[in-house]
């Protein structure tokens, strides 16, 4: 017992003060929100577009150079191929949006970050959001970094958010993975088992668009089109801070733009 207490004193209190205090410092090489400056590149970012593994970066007629954060796996290959600085990755972790189309970014345009789920839903779920996590294909990276939010470093319970063991106990689903054909039915049944009102969070490139597995015949390219999505959290996988920021925006605890 004395050994445990002594060790407890050493380990100390190390929960991040975010969002009332500063967020943890992210490493310099962290790839957060991409910043496009297409005017710098004469040939429309052709070299960067050629190396993009998922087709997230594109240059279409009438659209110009655009990057879909929902398809991007943040590998940084486009920035590495770019010599002019027309595509760079910033350290900005705030990526979550409420609408699918808001994930498509252009040069000089601000990301329209997620707003809260609205007064009525906030009244019912805002102070206690219970989520059932469904892993539907994928690589387990998103699940691992969602789980991290329950550790003492992040302590998501202090916001009233909790991962629960049954959809019957849940106010919504946090879906990860590209929705493998073999998981389609299980996901559908789990969603139907959650009582109304309910929310659905698509976390990670796979759940939003299929991620690295996009267009494989074995996957459904994410939840889009199958179930209604209330929050999109980009990343491969999303950093815990990105996911936490998204969840706190959804329940109105982070309101800055």
């Amino acid at each position: 017992m004395l050994r445990i207490i002594r060790e407890r004193l050493h380990q100390g209190f190390r929960t991040t003060p975010f969002p009332t205090g500063e967020p943890p410092v992210l490493p310099a090489r962290f790839r957060g929100l991409p910043v496009l400056d297409s005017a710098r590149c004469a040939d429309g970012c052709a070299e960067s577009i050629a190396v993009c593994p998922t087709g997230a970066l594109s240059n279409g007629p009438g659209k110009g150079v655009q990057l879909d954060l929902g398809t991007c796996i943040f590998c940084g290959e486009c920035a590495a191929a770019c010599e002019t600085g027309a595509v760079i990755f910033s350290n900005d972790y705030r990526l979550a949006t409420r609408r699918r189309q808001d994930l498509v970014i252009h040069a000089g345009q601000d990301l329209k970050r997620a707003e809260s789920m609205g007064r009525e839903l906030l009244r019912i779920l805002g102070r206690s959001l219970r989520l059932r996590q469904v892993s539907a294909g994928g690589c387990n990276g998103c699940e691992a970094d969602a789980n991290v939010l329950t550790t003492v470093g992040w302590d998501i319970g202090r916001f009233g958010i909790q991962f629960v063991a049954s959809p019957r106990h849940a106010d919504g689903l946090l879906v990860t993975g590209p929705v493998a054909q073999n998981m389609r039915l299980a996901l559908q049944k789990t969603w139907e088992a959650v009582p109304e009102p309910k929310v659905l969070i698509a976390s990670g490139a796979c759940a939003i668009s299929g991620g690295p597995f996009r267009d494989s015949p074995e996957v459904c390219n994410g939840v889009e089109g199958n179930l209604p999505v209330d929050l999109y959290v980009p990343g491969c996988p999303p950093h815990p801070l990105t996911l936490l920021d998204g969840l706190l925006r959804l329940i109105g605890r982070v309101r800055e733009k």
């Binding site: 060790e7 290959e77 991962f163 597995f213």
Partner: protein
């Protein structure tokens, strides 16, 4: 290592180094009976099945079966093959370790496997073995589980609280990665390799890159090999520490449980220091690594390594002196060494049964040819052994990283790769944190990948979990499961 293949005089197999490549035409083509005989003889002499798979035959109908055996005594891989038309006589009755490989051959190529005791698809099948008898009942769990984990179905045959038999039915994570890799090498290949199992990004990416480098006849520069190894050991520490915390949580010992959750994050953040991603995404690339370290970064890493080692030591050592923890760990979910050998357990699950098996020392490639990490084993094969071997390995990985960071080889971090050889086979193995990862890659006459076989250590070990549960109370399943912590996505591919 350069592809130095030589014919083995004693048998009709071909010896290959880990990370070697050889023209497909030189792989011995045996009859089905000869192949069966050779595999059984090699396994009888202590070899393990690294991979055993089918690929479409060069001409006509049928398939070519390719076997890759790990011959640790010789420090080499045995490669052999046979052409079969529509059927392959099962070797599972004599060699239980082959059971899942044969089921996969049937699933992927349609070859019949007469004599297999339980031939059903590997990925998704609703039928289960049922125990009949008075008071026998079934417990069905999954695919959607109670925790934040991957999907899988577990079907327990119980008598009262005691598990008579557990059948594990997977495939829910199947997303067609092997076929995706068979288009390549292309812009997506390395990302598919990195997401074979997200918690083993470095292990699988390294195996994939070493196979590609072997096919191209190049080797990553020494500095890149060292950085890959540092990242591999960081991955091992992060996962092992996380698992020790989860095991503590499962027996209700909250101090270690909560601290280890955080310490795991601290170690993941060191991977992010290296390459921007907590899982090591973007670090390992064909021909080397994408990120170098400078003196400032080295200093930061060394400092964080020593403070994490201090934190992990304090958190984990409590486990071994707390009677309530030991009472739950010791004797739970035990597997005998004999069973472990028979079913071909790999990695820490095998070492926890007292089997000295570690790719880093038995079949070294990359930096492991020049440096050594002692192999950590324990004898009892139970939850305690799997926990304790993790802790031994964590300490040794910390020491290894400290050594490497103190003496990184100078020079480049990446070389350019020419086109892969045509009609060649390359095999690479990496000791991931769960065990031996095997990638076998075959190119066509254009130098494009025509068959990409991935064997995650979980493919070998899931059956071990099923056997560990026999005779255990069903309520011990979470603890036993956590003590293996196997990958669903690595198995399902």
């Amino acid at each position: 290592m350069k592809g130095t293949a030589k014919d083995n005089a004693k048998s009709a197999s071909l010896l290959l180094h880990n990370g070697g490549s050889v023209p497909v035409s030189r792989i011995p083509a045996l009859s089905a009976d000869q192949l069966k005989e050779q595999i059984l003889a090699a396994v009888g002499d202590g070899a393990e099945i690294g991979a055993f798979f089918a690929r479409p035959a060069a001409a006509g109908s049928g398939a070519q079966l390719v076997g890759i055996l790990l011959d640790r005594a010789q420090g080499a891989l045995q490669v052999l093959s046979a052409r079969v038309t529509d059927s392959w006589p099962s070797i599972t009755p004599e060699c239980p370790a082959a059971h899942l490989f044969e089921r996969e051959i049937a699933e992927q190529s349609g070859i019949a496997v007469p004599g297999h005791p339980w031939l059903k698809p590997v990925r998704f099948d609703p039928q289960f073995f049922q125990v009949q008898g008075e008071e026998v009942h079934e417990v069905a769990v999954g695919p959607v589980h109670a925790g934040v984990i991957e999907p899988g179905h577990f079907r327990f045959q119980c008598h009262g609280e005691t598990v008579l038999h557990l059948e594990i039915s997977l495939g829910y994570q199947h997303r067609g990665v092997e076929s995706g890799l068979e288009r390549g090498p292309d812009a997506r290949s390395i990302h598919l390799a990195e997401t074979l199992a997200g918690d083993t990004t470095i292990g699988h990416a390294t195996a994939s890159c070493e196979a590609m480098e072997a096919l191209c006849g190049r080797e990553a520069p020494p500095r890149a090999q060292a950085l890959r190894a540092v990242a591999l050991e960081l991955e091992r520490i992060a996962n092992h520490v996380g698992d020790l915390g989860a095991l503590a949580g499962d027996v209700g010992f909250l101090p270690t449980s909560s601290w280890c959750g955080r310490i795991r994050g601290d170690v993941l953040n060191m991977s992010a220091l290296l390459c921007g991603s907590r899982f090591g995404r973007g670090l390992v690339r064909p021909g080397g690594v994408a990120f170098d370290v400078d003196d400032q970064l080295l200093g930061q890493l060394k400092e964080r390594i020593s403070s994490s080692l201090r934190d992990a030591t304090g958190a984990c050592e409590l486990l071994w002196t707390t009677p309530s923890v030991l009472a739950r760990f010791e004797g739970t979910g035990a597997i005998s060494q004999e069973t472990a050998r028979e079913i071909g357990l790999t990695g820490l699950a095998a070492r926890a049964c007292g089997i000295e098996r570690d790719i880093r020392s038995d079949l070294p490639a990359g930096i492991w040819r020049f440096t050594q990490v002692p192999v950590s084993t324990w004898r009892t094969g139970d939850v305690f052994a799997r926990a304790y071997v993790r802790w031994l390995e964590v300490q040794r990985s910390f020491a290894f990283i400290q050594d490497q960071l103190g003496a990184l080889p100078p020079g480049d971090i990446r070389v350019g790769l020419p086109r892969p050889s045509r009609s060649a086979l390359a095999v690479s193995l990496v000791e991931g944190w769960r065990g031996a990862i095997c990638h076998a890659v075959i190119t066509d006459s254009e130098g494009r990948v025509s068959r990409y076989k991935v064997v995650d250590p979980s493919f070998h070990n899931w059956f071990g979990l099923a056997l560990a549960m026999r005779g255990q109370p069903v309520s011990d399943f979470p603890l036993c499961n956590k003590s293996f912590n196997l990958s669903y996505c690595g198995h399902d591919l």
